[in-house]
Amino acid sequence: MSHVVFEPEKCPDKAARVWAGMREIARRIHSLDPDLLIIATNDHLNNFTLALQAPFIVGVADEYIPLGDMGIPKTPFPGSREFADGFVRFAATAGFDVARAEEIAPDHGFAFPNLVVNPGGRVPVLPFYINVANDIPPTPARVWALGGVLRDFITRERVERVVVLGAGGLSHWLCEPEQGRVNEAFDRMVIGKIVSGRGRELAGLTSEEIRRDAGRSGLEVMHWIFAAATVPHARGEEIFYEPMPEWITGMGGIALTP
């Protein structure tokens, strides 16, 4: 689902539907009673800057304190070191050298969806960063493949009940000349493919195609692709979708069950 919201005043009806959809996703996650919540997202050059651009980073800390951007409370919440380290070791045997991060102050890309779906930080989390803000982002094919590695790790090596949340925006051209444009056709294409069990087709896109059709910030759909790859044949349903030029983005959320 999208990982941020904006002031409701400009479009109260749409905002109410988006917020209700996010709360519905929270309700469904709560009802699954997970042992671990993995949120795939991106940092907005707060923790990982252009000084060193790693494509994939997982948080391995015991605890996180949000950065506090956008007024998000700096309330600590628990991490999952043993799971995270186990995944990094597993991925290294499966063709992925994933970076480990001990010190992350999650910005809104992680902290807001976590606040919505995991109130009180009751479920330990694993921050999974797909660095689409990099000058050279990872390809959708690699993102899909890494989602498959996570699936293999969970199904072969672990006993926990795990929820994977892909948290990122659909089409938006933040701080680009096209800012304000929303490509509803692209957004609905992404949602349609994933909920019909054809998410793998999105792995055939290039980063350049996503930038063209969804904007640079629309590369955040990689997080949706990653989450879909952890349940590659699952079908699901659209929980909400709103094209919102008022918020300069398409807003959406879906649910997949293996």
């Binding site: 941020v4 919201v5 904006f6 002031e7 409701p8 917020w19 907005h44 050059l45 707060n46 800057t49 252009l50 000084a51 956008m70 007024g71 998000i72 409370p73 809104h108 807001f112 606040l115 919505v116 109130p119 803000a133 000058d135 933040l174 701080c175 680009e176 000349p177 800012q179 640079r216 910030s217």
Partner: protein, 94 residues
């Protein structure tokens, strides 16, 4: 649109992390520009500091947001959080 040179991005990244640098930048911008090797043409656009100027310079979108926020904060304050009403809902368990 070509990306801005890394020196421009490095300056904004450091401003985002270092409140003392922000204070120096507010009072002695030319000194800070010189420290980061910012050219005259780049200084012109950063001094203008509008979304159009930052786009023309090729500043990364996330860093445009930070530079605009830093300049706003130096003027009239950062403004309310766009999440305020939602955070109230969550805090009240709605």
């Amino acid at each position: 649109m070509s990306p801005a040179p890394y020196r421009v991005h490095r300056l904004i990244q450091d401003l985002n992390r270092d409140p003392r640098l922000v204070v120096t930048f507010e009072s002695e911008p030319e000194t800070v520009f010189a420290q980061y090797g910012i050219t005259d043409a780049e200084r012109l656009l950063l001094r203008e500091g509008t979304p159009r100027a930052l786009m023309e310079l090729g500043v990364h979108p996330n860093l445009q947001m930070k530079f605009l926020r830093i300049r706003r904060a130096a003027g009239v304050g950062g403004g309310p959080s766009p999440l305020a009403s939602y955070l109230r809902d969550l805090a009240q368990g709605k």
